[in-house]
């Protein structure tokens, strides 16, 4: 006999947690490969990232369906119920993050053969930061670690600083050389996608806090939202 009386629920939630980790791994790779395709101007790789989005969508729906079935069959309450609801939300956030990665890959395809406007420095940093934050937020969620979740959310400020640095730099270039506007805009789109990934990590962190405390609270008010 299991130690918990809700062993059946625990087993099934554990399986959904494993799927959540798997989804995080898929999104992580999508971000990595999307930015790699940008760096290397590798259109084949960009195409793979776009095609791979379907697999992410499928797993997101599986997680949602499994959560629904778990609620319907095991009648979770309190922390258990919050955990299931939180994971459903987080699966949606991650699926959207993969859409952002696919957005970068689509931009790579649009860029065609035009050379990069400038060497990439901050954009790969944003990607690396986003991936680290994503991993940490999902780990905090599954470990029910609210402190760690808050720490992850705080790192979104770093992401925003990087984004505004890229933004300011590209606007500067465009102002001086109008013929660079198209290429600069492409890079701006990529940076914007990464910045949105940071926002979605913050949402995951909020859900991790929600599981342990029951509080629904925004963890990071953004400077461009007048916070």
């Amino acid at each position: 006999m299991g130690t918990s009386l809700r062993a059946a629920f625990d087993r099934e939630l554990e399986a959904i947690g494993q799927d959540t980790l798997r989804l995080q791994g898929m999104v992580d790779r999508a971000i990595e490969r999307a930015v790699e395709s940008l760096k290397q101007r590798d259109r084949a790789l960009a195409g793979e990232v776009i095609a791979g989005d379907q697999e992410v969508n499928d797993l997101r729906f599986k997680i949602e369906e499994d959560c629904l079935a778990l609620i319907a069959t095991q009648q979770p309450t309190a922390t258990d119920l919050r955990a299931v609801i939180a994971i459903m939300n987080v699966a949606v956030e991650m699926e959207r993050m993969a859409d952002h990665a696919a957005g970068i890959a689509k931009t790579v395809l649009r860029m065609g053969d035009q050379p990069l406007l400038k060497p990439l420095i901050d954009i790969p940093k944003m990607a690396e930061l986003g991936r680290q934050m994503l991993r940490a937020s999902v780990e905090a969620l599954l470990a029910r670690d609210a402190d760690r979740a808050r720490a992850v959310a705080a790192r979104d400020d770093e992401m925003d600083e990087l984004y505004f640095a890229v933004f300011d730099e590209l606007v500067e270039i465009m102002a001086h050389k109008p013929d660079t506007v198209e290429r600069a805009t492409y890079l701006l789109w990529c940076a914007h996608n990464l910045e949105r990934i940071g926002d979605r990590v913050t949402n995951i962190a909020e859900r991790a806090v929600f599981i342990t405390t029951g509080a629904m609270k925004e963890l990071n008010i953004k400077r461009d939202e007048g916070g």
Binding site: M1, G2, L5, R6, A7, A8, E65, L68, A69, A72, T73, Q74, Q75
Partner: protein, 257 residues
Amino acid sequence: MGEQRPQPKFRVRDLNFYYGQFQALKGVSIDIQPRQITALIGPSGCGKSTFLRCLNRMNDTIPGTRLEGQVLLEGQDIYAHEVDLTVLRQRVGMVFQKPNPFPQSVFDNVAFGPRVLGMIRGREQAEGVVEAALREVGLWDTLKDMLEEDALSLSLGDQQRLCIARVIATRPEVILMDEPCSALDPVATLQVEELMHTLKRDYTIVIVTHNMQQAARVSDRTGLFWLGELIEFGDTARIFTHPRLKRTEDYISGRMG
């Protein structure tokens, strides 16, 4: 290659059952898969317990009853003339609503079936069987020093698990459970449910329950009986997330008129 389903443990076809003039079951057809938990739900008087009792011919003892159709246990018609009822009930054991241990010791309760069926001889063999069965139901550590105690002195939850041990001591293939938790408190109920989960590794379980949430929690497949008919049957997760019939939805949502 198509999906290979194992041969069903029970294959029931067009089963009709009558108490005198009253038809309690109407054209019930169902396949019960091995090593799964199949839950049968439905309002009182819908036929679910009658159906359960058809699976090991417990209704035979009720005068004025009549059965049509087929009940195949691994392909064999259990209502055929040559069927030995003792063997059938050893293969298809039953646990009842109220724990019903014999007014004997814990040990003798568990050893009863194997002794009657001639499966064991002597104290030593009996000890092995009793220990194995009590371990399987998670009672050994609690009861190993109380084997000579009166079984009726146990808590109701432990009595019910003892009754399950008494059934599995005879090495059945199928365990039928008729409202096995309705006399138990929530903790004992969850213990029995978790026990069912471990038992399904070795046994096929069919449970009748009034408690829809219990059916949802424990079973792999759920069937809804309504006025003697099996109106919907399928994977439990599907039944409780998107049932096909409005009537099923109303029943599981507590909106049945």
